[in-house]
């Protein structure tokens, strides 16, 4: 057996796997998008999407806000992480990654225990003599859930790019008159941009398509695109669900493309 043939053979399982579980489902989505449910071609499903315009806009806003908050919290955190001793860094990175190994549903569900009307947080408030606050079903709770669930995906790429910045660039900046602030502004920020961009993508994409977080922490009061899609598949109304998925997918692909475009000048970053 010659080696190239052998190497190709090694690729086969991967190709079969991705065909069955990625390519074929995509075509099924495409099929249902333009199907009237009786085997005929129709564009009705696309037209019907207009009714859900507001849901899409809400989803985008929620995802943007969650991504923005993640970025604001993660960048300083990741920056200071690179400043502490290597052993503490390892420990902290482990702590950041720990929630990633837990199931998303469980993490989200635990927040309901905390935020519920009779939940941990309200009981503490009552004990301190404050009135109960309604957390569940508010936009804040949903955003909190998104930020909590997805923030490790922002911290890690940013941390990785910052810690990979050659120390001599920072010394050169100091040598040329930069104080700490100017060093961050002129050297650390631009050089960590690839990490920021991939962090944004990695938080924005799951945020815009989530449905469980809004269902549980939004108490059904807040409808996001993911919720509508889930409902359509439960009814089942496959054609509408598929067309919404397709639109969401196209939107995600566009946003990733935009992110990659931004990062074009920088080589060596982590890009999806």
């Amino acid at each position: 057996m010659n080696t190239t043939f052998g190497k190709r053979l090694l690729n086969v399982p991967c190709l079969v796997w991705s065909s069955i579980f990625i390519i074929v489902p995509l075509f099924i989505v495409l099929y249902y998008t333009f199907s009237d449910g009786k085997g005929g071609f129709t564009l009705d499903n696309i037209y019907e999407l207009g009714l859900y315009k507001d849901v899409f806009i809400t989803s985008i806003i929620y995802a943007l806000v969650a991504t923005f908050i993640c970025l604001i919290l993660s960048y300083p955190f990741a920056y200071f992480l690179t400043k502490i001793s290597p052993n503490s860094q390892k420990m902290m990175v482990l702590l950041v990654m720990l929630p990633m190994w837990m199931n998303l549903l469980i993490k989200t569900y635990s927040w309901t225990v905390i935020l519920d009307n009779n939940g941990v947080l309200n009981r503490i408030l009552n004990m301190l003599g404050f009135d109960s606050v309604k957390f569940m079903g508010t936009p804040g709770a949903v955003i909190l859930g998104m930020v909590y669930d997805f923030i490790p995906y922002m911290i890690l790429p940013i941390y990785t790019t910052i810690s990979k910045i050659d120390k001599s660039y920072l010394e050169a900046a100091a040598d040329l008159g930069s104080n700490s602030f100017s060093k961050i502004k002129r050297v650390v920020l631009p050089l960590s941009l690839p990490g920021v961009l991939s962090g944004i993508t990695m938080v924005f994409v799951p945020s815009i398509s989530t449905f469980y977080i809004s269902q549980k922490l939004g108490n059904g009061m807040i409808l996001l695109a993911g919720d509508i899609i889930e409902t359509q598949f439960k009814i089942p109304n496959y054609p509408l669900g598929a067309s919404m998925s397709l639109v969401l997918m196209i939107f995600i692909i566009i946003s990733i493309a935009v992110m990659n475009k931004f990062g074009d000048n920088d080589k060596g970053g982590i890009m999806i």
Binding site: E171, A172, D175, G177, S178, R186
Partner: protein, 374 residues
């Protein structure tokens, strides 16, 4: 305090993890001087440079800049600029913006900045490359950008950390001349770090030879070469035969079983000393006419001259000569009084200066190992 001195190091010591990197360094650097730290890797030369730049604080001692102590002054406030070993040019900025970096930090007007950058590009012969990104430049061009970026800020002292180590030989020679020209043109102090002795000798006003965190000798290139202070300096700078000798009286020394007139004095009667004789200072003469007699054990032709190894009473001498000799020839050796240099015994005595293990191949391997270590 001396007005002529721009930088003074007083009793500087630095340790990392309990290991002494610099041991009581005392040094005055004069204004507008081209001074070079020379030594093998790990000798503390780069550490000294980083102290002056402000990237490192000494455990003990004072760093004086223009008669003021600057131990606590952070790097960004010091009037020195550095050319880094691997240049450390900012990869996210183009040539123009790299050179403009320090000027932008100082918040100069856009017009001043562009004037200054153009002037710098002209100085280093890179006009027209403003918009190029750093990664598209050759090593030599990057080197020039690094120079332009550093001197655009009008430093009083320019620190150069092995700036030519990454360039090939031909380019290195050109850049040596160019750096020297730039230094004279701008009239600023250059503090240069290298492990290349030839580079140190050709460029510097003064050379500081370092080893083991200590200064071994400070002097002009001529001093360092002709009057090395100990066996380490004699061996590190050029080739040397270093033999044990006894100073019989002023101007009279005994080594290798013979007695020689010399020009050195001030030693105790019968003091044991190290004697240095450079390979080019030994004349080969017929056996009867020499002060020493030896047998040729190897001959290498190097183009300009032959390098031959002669065994004299078990000690191998290196001799450079333009005449051809053959292995197993018996030759006489003659050494002029002014070719003999007497050094006090030191911790380095007996470690260097014997060519019994010498071979071309070993020599090259050592050179390579040294360069890789940098």
């Amino acid at each position: 305090m001396n007005k002529e001195n721009i930088v003074e190091l007083k009793n500087i010591s630095v340790s990392f993890d309990g290991e002494k990197i610099l041991d009581s360094i005392n040094l005055d650097i004069k204004d507008k001087e081209f001074i070079t730290f020379l030594g093998p890797s790990g000798c503390g030369k780069t550490t000294t440079l980083r102290l002056i730049a402000g990237f490192l604080e000494p455990d003990e001692g004072e760093i004086i800049f223009e008669n003021k102590k600057i131990n606590d002054v952070p790097a960004y406030k010091r009037q020195v600029n550095t050319i880094f070993q691997r240049y450390a040019l900012f990869p996210h900025l183009n040539v123009y913006e790299n050179i403009a970096f320090g000027l932008r930090v100082k918040k100069l007007k856009e017009k001043e900045i562009s004037q200054k950058v153009e002037e710098m590009l002209k100085l280093v012969n890179l006009t027209g490359l403003e918009k190029r990104s750093i990664s598209t430049l050759s090593g030599g061009q990057q080197q020039r950008v690094a120079i332009a970026r550093a001197i655009a800020n009008h430093p009083k002292v320019l620190l150069l950390d092995e700036p030519l180590a990454a360039l090939d030989l031909k380019l290195r020679k050109d850049m040596q001349k160019e750096l020297k020209n730039i230094q004279q043109q701008l009239g600023i102090t250059f503090i240069f770090v290298t492990h290349d002795q030839e580079e140190a000798l050709t460029m510097s006003d003064r050379v500081i030879v370092m080893d083991n965190g200590k200064i071994q000798q400070i002097g002009t290139p001529q001093d360092i070469y002709n009057e090395p202070e100990n066996a380490f300096v004699a061996d590190f700078i050029g080739e040397s035969n270093i033999v044990d000798g006894k100073m019989l009286k002023d101007f009279y020394v005994e080594f290798s079983g013979s007695r020689f007139d010399c020009l050195d004095k001030g030693f105790e009667k019968n003091e044991l000393v190290d004697v240095v004789v450079r390979p080019e200072d030994v004349d080969i003469v017929p056996v009867g006419q020499g002060q020493l007699v030896g047998v040729v054990t190897s001959v290498a032709f190097l183009g300009v001259h032959y390098e031959i190894i002669v065994d004299i009473g078990g000690f191998k001498w290196m001799i450079q000569t333009t005449d051809e000799h053959f292995v197993d020839d018996k030759v006489g050796l003659y050494i002029e009084p002014d070719a003999i240099h007497i050094m006090k015994k030191s911790e380095y005595s007996g470690l260097y200066g014997d060519y019994s293990t010498f071979s071309e191949e070993m020599y090259e391997m050592n050179e390579m190992a040294e360069e890789n270590a940098e």
